[in-house]
């Protein structure tokens, strides 16, 4: 009994506008925004759960350029976050404010902030009167922070802002002490951040430029290449679902893939994913004979309609002919005036024209009559199909034999065709046996004597030289088509749901393995284990032991089953013999950053850690107030202006005024 998994295809639910109670409004409650490149999570710091969780994306449809009328172009509505009901429909219009894990596109960020504030119900006039805690990337460039502060302070009038790093918030939330090696597996990056006695050692932290989005892309392309038929059905959202529900990280990758080389293991463990499909209407119970009857019926009806049309046209033509003949009679009677009037009504210019029209009509009538005659003859029933390879015997035993026979013939023709094609392909390439033989044949032809061509078989030489498909292969092709038709009619067809299944064998293990071996997709950086080893090397052995005993996993991508065991095994391999190590997972890898930031906002000293508006205007947008969970602030140095360079080009040219006499 095979196990078929069905894709659930989750649909997003649009967000409601939350209630903005007076206690929120007048209490200056801090607003906590975890601005991640995958999801944005927003909530008030006094609540337990974030109010809004949505994908950090907008869908901006392109304007139609064809409207060149005077009306101004109507902007189609922009969908943001959870307003995007069907993400696959707008897949190509999606835009995000992130470039890797840093915010660079602030127009989109402003749209997202509008969405956030309006869905929280904020109705204050002219500004958002709440301090904001915002997460930023680890070691964000100052430029990005400057624009973000500009947006918040000047655009929304926020009174105070505090920036923090999401992974460190998550660490403090999980209460594992103040010394840990944080491994944050995000959507575009994996960060390895050592924290010793509460101090973040930034210079020894490392970032691998690989994350959930690369893993999803890899698996997406892999499945599309394996199943080119289902390219449209294999969507990114379905791949996300497969990764989140059905993928694991292998404990020992080499051993795991060797297991799959065994066909029995494959049969037992392959995952069959059922794609949704539409049942074709032909299986509505009609047998082959009834279908044939239907086709004959329709053909007969068509012929009838055509015959009727021809008769009508014939009648019309004859009618017109009579009228024109009457006109001709008028002339012969000598009534020129009446004639001239009459021909005006028929739009004929003179007598010659009239003659021409009459002859045309006569020809048309002749042709029509001929066609009707042939159609009448063709209505005899078509000749019975020749018996032989198409006709299946009705006796069941003989039918089976005939079926097997036909299948064998089909395979034979296929093999012959493949061989011919392979030979032709080899003939084209240089230095192959087939090409050498072809040359030999040509030179033999050139040296052929006068009696070439007396026998019919001589001319077969040209078939073997020709580089293109010749009559033999055409004949074979036709036979193939006939055999296919015969087989299709009589062979039991595979149930269609088998044709719409994806078989996943190694793929669920292969894609997450990118974390440890980025070289599988061409990325030359060290994988997670090697990078951790590199980071360890920068510390003293005592510190290394402290760090290894508290490896903290957080971030959305860390939820792959089997990751913890794999990391423990890697640590066992890289740490000194008989030293201890421990891997700790965050309680809620996706949301702990928000919870940590919320705790931070609710603490007593929160006001000391905020950048106020005055600070912003005084120190500039890049300013960052450091705290236990933030980046370090390095003020941007002024750009060097080199004064030793030569002055501008025209400094020494004397300008004269020239008067021209015209």
């Amino acid at each position: 009994m095979e196990d078929v998994l069905i894709l659930k295809d989750y649909k997003t639910v649009p967000d409601i506008v939350h209630e903005y109670s007076p206690s929120l409004k007048f209490g200056h409650i801090p607003l906590v925004i975890d601005n991640g490149s995958y999801q944005c999570r927003v909530g008030w710091s006094i609540h337990d759960e974030p109010h809004l969780i949505f994908k950090n994306l907008i869908a901006r449809p392109r304007k139609d350029r064809c409207k060149k009328d005077a009306e101004p172009p109507v902007t189609p509505p922009i969908q943001i976050g959870n307003d995007i009901i069907n993400i696959e429909a707008v897949r190509f219009q999606l835009k995000t404010q992130f470039d890797k894990n840093v915010v660079t596109h602030f127009e989109v960020q402003e749209l997202v902030c509008d969405y956030i504030f309006s869905h929280l119900g904020i109705d204050n006039e002219g500004s958002v009167p709440h301090p904001v805690v915002m997460t930023e990337a680890f070691v964000t460039p100052n430029y990005s922070r400057q624009l973000m502060s500009e947006l918040l302070f000047e655009g929304y009038g926020v009174p105070a802002v505090s920036y923090g790093v999401d992974s460190i918030f998550s660490m403090y939330r999980n209460d594992i002490g103040d010394t840990a090696l944080i491994v944050n597996m995000g959507y575009h990056t994996i960060h390895i951040i050592p924290v010793i006695r509460g101090k973040v050692i930034e210079e020894h932290a490392r970032r691998i430029n690989l994350g959930g989005s690369e893993i999803i892309c890899y698996m997406h392309k892999l499945l599309q290449l394996k199943y080119p038929v289902h390219v449209n059905a294999i969507t990114m959202s379905r791949i996300e679902e497969i990764l989140q529900e059905h993928s694991t990280i292998a404990l020992d990758y080499q051993e795991e893939i060797r297991k799959w080389a065994n066909p029995d293991y494959y049969e037992a463990n392959v995952k069959r994913i059922q794609l949704p499909f539409v049942q074709p209407a032909s299986s509505s119970g009609l047998t082959a004979e009834q279908q044939k009857e239907r086709k004959k019926e329709m053909a007969r009806r068509l012929l009838e309609i055509n015959a009727r049309k021809r008769e009508e046209r014939l009648a019309e033509d004859e009618e017109q002919l009579n009228q024109l003949l009457a006109l001709q009679d008028l002339i012969e009677e000598g009534d020129t005036e009446e004639f001239n009037e009459a021909i005006k009504s028929f739009e004929i210019k003179n007598y010659g024209d009239l003659q021409r029209q009459i002859s045309n009509l006569n020809m048309r009538i002749e042709k029509n009559k001929q066609r009707i005659a042939t159609a009448a003859n063709a209505e005899e029933p078509p000749e019975p199909r020749p018996t032989g390879r198409w006709q299946a015997p009705s006796d069941p035993e003989a039918f089976q034999i005939w079926l097997n026979d036909t299948r064998a013939k089909y395979r034979e023709v296929l093999v012959r065709r493949e061989a011919r094609r392979a030979r032709r392909a080899a003939m084209v390439k240089r230095r192959t046996a087939a090409a050498a033989e072809r040359m030999r044949a040509i030179s033999r032809l050139a040296a052929a004597g006068d009696d070439f061509g007396y026998r019919d078989s001589d001319w077969d030489v040209y078939k073997s030289i020709s580089r293109e498909a010749d009559s033999d292969s055409e004949a074979d092709g036709e036979r193939l088509v006939e055999l296919e038709e015969a087989l299709r009619e009589h062979e039991p067809a595979q149930p269609s749901h088998h044709q719409h299944q994806l078989h996943l064998a190694i793929e669920p293990y292969r894609a997450p393995e990118l974390i440890f071996q980025p070289s599988m997709m061409g990325n030359l950086e060290a994988g997670l284990a090697e990078c951790m080893e590199y980071v360890f090397k920068h510390f003293s052995p005592e510190d290394q032991l402290l760090l290894a005993n508290n490896v903290f996993l957080t971030g959305g991508c860390s939820q792959f089953p089997g990751l913890k065991e794999r990391l423990e095994k890697e640590l066992l391999e890289m740490r000194p013999f008989q030293s201890t190590h421990k891997v700790v997972m965050a309680q809620n890898p996706s949301l702990d950053a928000w919870y940590g930031a919320r705790d931070f906002a609710g603490s007593n000293e929160f006001d000391n850690w905020c950048i106020t508006k005055e600070d912003y205007y005084e120190m500039g947008g890049e300013y960052l107030k450091e705290h236990h969970a933030s980046n370090r602030y390095y003020k941007s140095p002024a750009p060097i202006i080199d004064n030793t360079l030569a002055p501008a080009g025209d400094a020494n040219v004397i300008k004269e005024e020239i008067v021209v006499d015209c």
């Binding site: 840093v102 127009e107 655009g155 060290a526 994988g527």
Partner: protein, 115 residues
Amino acid sequence: MTGEPEKLHCFKVENKFIVKSGCKKRMWRSLKQILATDRALPWPNDAVLYYSINAPPTFKPTKKYSDISGLPAPYVDRHSKLYYSNADEFATVRSLPMDITAGYLQLRGATTIVG
């Protein structure tokens, strides 16, 4: 939600970065450009910047896996440069159309502009 940009939210006085449709779009600098300008500035020696914490390149030799099945791949197809692991896979590799071959090579990062 906003229909036209003219209709603003009550908590905003004016759009900071959002432009009206049809007006000149501001070109936002990409991360690469931001990092390039950062690199040119005279930072003090102890400053830690975005590109300073890039992961090191790998020192271990890369393991080769078959492009079509993922099994360990000791062999390479001479014509298409795809990795394969046994004779059946070889037959499949030879029969693949060109666009799928190119897709597999691109997935592995083995496409170069030359040739």
